[in-house]
């Protein structure tokens, strides 16, 4: 069965007919070509697919496209504004918070939601928040530093 799904994607109104079983991540990647959101597992463990739906971080592999009808979605491609990197993106670069880059979009999207809820997270709070985001390259050390620094500059900024 095909259904029509409409939402706002990084500020742009989009709409498509998709099979009813289509996952949100598939719609974003395959129909709208926003391939920065990645699929790293099939059990909601890895967090490479984290996006924002109505301002909250969500694993887009675990949500049907149909459930996103009428929502406002932001993916990693929508984080930088007018060619200017977001402070959290800058922090990941400055603190070497990424190596292969595959988990990075999910990490950044997850970190942004953390800072929204807790503008000055401690290292322990950051590590606990990242329960749902796996990285196999960095050992998390520099991701944690990057998120702390990103949160700091967001408070200042």
């Amino acid at each position: 069965m095909s259904i029509n799904v409409s939402f706002t994607l990084n500020g742009e109104a989009v709409s498509a007919h998709v099979a009813s079983r289509t996952l949100l991540v598939e719609m974003i990647r395959e129909r709208f070509g926003r391939t920065g959101t990645h699929v790293g597992c099939d059990t909601s463990q890895c967090g490479a697919c984290v996006i924002h739906v109505d301002g909250r971080s969500v694993k887009s592999c675990t949500m049907l496209a149909a459930q996103a009808d009428g929502t406002e979605i932001v993916t990693i491609e929508g984080v930088a504004k007018n060619g200017q990197l977001h402070p959290m993106q800058e922090a990941f670069r400055e603190h070497h918070g990424l190596q292969c880059g595959f988990c990075t979009p999910g990490m950044i999207m997850s970190a942004l939601d953390l800072v929204k809820q807790n503008p000055d997270p401690s290292e322990k709070q950051i590590r606990e928040w990242l329960e749902g985001n796996l990285c196999r390259c960095t050992g998390y050390h520099n991701i944690v530093r990057a998120i702390k620094a990103g949160a700091d500059s967001m408070r200042v900024g």
Partner: protein, 787 residues
């Protein structure tokens, strides 16, 4: 130090595309009119295929084709080759079974490929795959080393009696026996090196794209070494000559060894693309990765160390059984032999060593390289044994190591197990680690933990590794079936910008930055005017790829040699432009000057002259400014170091927390310390994962019980501490960069430090041994006397 040159913590060029979501991984690529492939895999560990009924799948709307092993065999498709041959101690070659990309007669592990469905959408391909009806006659199986070794065990291959692929040895057995006969004391240990699954965050993917107009193939694949895949698949599997086959590995989301191997899916999509004359895309889901990516480690060993009464090491005897899985993966046989037993000297002056390795087939996923590949197994065995020796002799573990270290004046040092170490200062690295770890105040922290009801322990591990995997002549003598050099091309563009083509492949290591730093250092050009191209056989002349911490030590040196050729030619051009002798030209900071004068020409103008040769020494020099170097080193490199771990054990639950971790490493000279530190953090975390969390488990019938990220425990952010890392530099003596390699050290040195720390924390419990992973249950049982 030049800004952005050698030694600078330059922020990475590649980061911008990843933090903005513009990376391009294989699954991000879609080809016009592509089909989607779904592989049908064996659900049983061992069975005869009676019949594969594809009619229902073929009849489904949207299905374009279903192919089986018989179809590939009818086309003359060859088997997946093994890149390394090992000879048993009796002189016989290893048993080397055929490995068809799609099994036609028999399946030998859960996940073995049987058929492929091609359809217009992935959803249709998946639905149709459910309709492929395979009739198996299930056969008895062996799922682990123990059952494979049992008398009368079912055979994985009829010609591998006792399931033994090879029975190999290294070292002088009689000298080692003599050392034991004269020893005052002997310590022995039984070690299980747990089977692991690499779990790079990006699942494997492959797209085959056949161009009928040109009769050319393109394969996009998640590989650490696209030229190697072109060679193996082109020459051995599909019989496609190199000039008709292009292999592209774009951004690759981590490899850790699991993306070295040539996999069946690469051959299947490439072959199928021609059959249906459309691009064919396959992407593994994570469950599929667990049963099809090569697994790692899986050794069972017994080791004995002979010592004098003063604790001098006299002899080492090791007997290892290694699990190779059901088929020989690309470098599978090299891992438990050449990459393992040659490292058993460690950093010690043990005069006599003998090791024997029995490699065995089981009905499990093929086993191949995983970060460190053989070297973590050697280091773990040795460092656990040395710690046990310290406990048995009552000698402090640091003192016992120091007493037996190869000393700086001993280099070059020939070990009893084939390798010749060029340089090192093991005590200096250990001292640095001890200081950074604040080892002197451990007792205070121990008391503080005790006050909170926790048992605190400290563990040490001093590892060595052989990196810069190359010397082709040495590797060839040890069984490698290919050369292991590297290739670098420097293309100076007419306006003076630089394009580097390298045979190394970056999948997280940051070559686009570190290699650009080498160019900045050599030519004085602006960092932003340098681009590094890798991962495309259509662009890069040749290469052997990235594994074994070889990129800087082999690929980086190849690049330096090409840069030196550029410098030489640029000087010749400048001499002409400046009407001076070539010998008088100095090349510094991007300027070529006549020594002792104020006459100079900028490098960019030399580049322009090379491509617009209006005023150019055409009679003596070709136009253009592009040079290539192949580099084959004389020796491996030998990074070494000391890892110190502190843990707290909860005596009520057996939960272990790593509370401090310190690494003091010697990687030779360091191009970018920020990137090197990151490599150590990641490697150590994988080592902590092996020590505490990760374990690939099969049940007795060969079903993988840890088949998802819900069951296989990867370290998470709150499982590891911040790391303290430092380096001590002894430059490699046989490459111009003085570099050694840093990618695997963390995973090699850390597991023994963690387990030694736990045993130290539990020293009141009289626990003789503790195997990895040290799960809460295992630790708690050991504390109850049930180890």
């Amino acid at each position: 130090m030049t800004e952005n040159g050698f030694g600078a913590a330059v922020r990475r060029k590649e980061d911008h595309r990843f933090i903005t979501g513009r990376g391009q991984f294989v699954d991000d690529i879609n080809r016009p009119h592509q089909l989607y492939a779904q592989i049908i895999r064996s659900p049983i560990a061992h069975g005869k295929i009676n019949k594969v009924d594809v009619d229902a799948a073929n009849a489904m709307s949207g299905v374009v084709a279903v192919f089986t092993g018989a179809d590939m065999a009818a086309d003359g498709v060859g088997g997946l080759p093994c890149g390394w041959g090992i000879t048993s101690k009796d002189g016989s070659p290893m048993v080397e079974p055929g490995h068809p990309p799609l099994a036609a007669e028999c399946v030998r592990y859960v996940g073995d490929q049987i058929a492929v469905v091609l359809a217009e959408t992935l959803a249709i391909a998946r639905d149709a795959a459910e309709l492929v009806d395979v009739d198996y006659a299930e056969l008895p199986s062996v799922a682990n080393l123990e059952s494979a070794s049992a008398d009368g065990a079912p055979l994985v291959w009829d010609d591998a009696k006792g399931n033994i692929c090879f029975d190999w040895e290294i070292g002088d057995k009689s000298a080692t026996d003599a050392a034991f006969a004269s020893a005052d004391q002997v310590v022995s240990i039984d070690i299980v090196n747990n089977r692991l699954i690499a779990n790079a965050m990006e699942p494997r993917a492959a797209i085959g794209d056949y161009d009928a107009g040109k009769d050319e193939y393109t394969l996009y694949t998640t590989s650490q070494n696209p030229h190697v895949i072109r060679m193996l698949m082109g020459a051995f599997v599909l019989s496609i000559p190199e000039h008709k086959l292009r292999v592209i590995s774009p951004d690759v989301g981590g490899g850790f060894g699991s993306k070295i191997c040539h996999y069946a899916e690469e051959a299947i999509v490439t072959w199928a693309s021609r059959k249906v004359n459309r691009p064919v895309k396959w992407t593994a889901d994570r469950s599929e990765s667990f049963i099809s990516d090569a697994h790692g480690r899986d050794h069972v060993s017994h080791a004995e160390l002979a010592m004098s009464k003063d604790g001098d090491f006299l002899g080492l005897r090791v007997s290892t059984r290694a699990n190779l899985g059901a088929y020989l993966s690309t470098f599978g046989p090299a891992v438990p032999t050449i990459l393992y037993a040659t490292l058993l000297a460690g950093s010690y002056k043990t005069p006599a060593i003998h090791a024997e390795v029995k490699a065995m087939f089981t009905h499990t996923v093929p086993v191949d390289s995983y970060r460190g590949a053989g070297r973590p197994e050697a280091s773990y065995l040795l460092e656990r044994l040395v710690d046990k020796a310290a406990k048995q002799t009552g000698i402090d573990p640091i003192e016992l190591r120091r007493r037996n270290f190869i000393q700086p004046e001993d280099f070059p040092y020939q070990t009893p197990v084939a390798l010749e170490y060029d340089t090192g200062d093991y005590d200096a690295a250990m001292v640095k680690a001890i200081e950074l770890a604040d080892y002197a105040n451990f007792d205070k922290r121990h008391e503080e933990s005790a006050a909170r009801g926790k048992l605190r322990g400290v563990g040490i591990s001093t590892y060595i590794e052989a990196c810069g995997i190359a010397p082709s002549n040495v590797a060839g003598a040890l069984g490698a079936r290919a050369g292991l050099y590297e290739v670098g091309t420097v293309r100076v563009n007419p306006t003076g910008s630089i394009t580097v083509l390298t045979g190394s492949h970056s999948h997280g290591q940051g070559h686009e930055t570190t290699f650009a730093q080498l160019v900045v250092e050599a030519l004085g050009v602006d960092f932003d005017n340098v681009d590094i191209v890798h991962g495309d056989t259509g662009k890069v002349p040749f290469g052997m790829g990235t594994y074994g911490s070889r990129s800087a030590a082999v690929g980086g040196v190849a690049l330096m040699n090409a840069l030196e050729k550029i410098r030489t030619k640029a000087k010749k051009i400048a001499a002409h432009l400046l009407e001076a002798s070539e010998d008088d030209i100095e090349f510094k900071d991007g300027q070529l000057s006549v020594a002792g004068t104020d006459r100079s020409v900028a490098f960019g103008d030399v580049a322009m002259a090379a491509y617009v040769p209006h005023n150019y020494p055409l009679e003596t020099l070709e136009p253009g400014l592009e040079e290539t170097a192949f580099y084959d080193p004389k020796n491996f490199t030998f990074p070494a170091g000391c890892h110190i771990c502190e843990v707290e054990v909860d005596p009520d639950t057996g939960v272990v927390e790593v509370v401090r971790f310190t690494a003091g490493d010697d990687f030779g000279r360091i191009i970018n310390p920020m990137i090197v530190d990151g490599q150590v953090h990641g490697g150590v975390t994988q080592g902590i994962g092996q020590a505490l969390y990760e374990q690939c488990v099969y049940d007795d019938s060969g079903q993988l019980l840890t088949g998802s990220m819900m069951d296989y425990c990867l370290p998470k952010a709150d499982n590891v501490p911040n790391f303290a890392v430092t380096t001590n530099v002894t430059p490699c003596t046989h490459n111009v960069l003085g570099v050694k390699g840093c990618g695997e050290a963390g995973a090699i040195g850390s597991p023994a430090a963690v387990i030694n720390a736990i045993l130290n924390a539990l020293s009141d419990y009289n626990i003789d041994n503790l195997q990895m992973p040290a799960t809460p249950e295992r630790v708690w049982q050991a504390m109850q006397g049930n180890g």
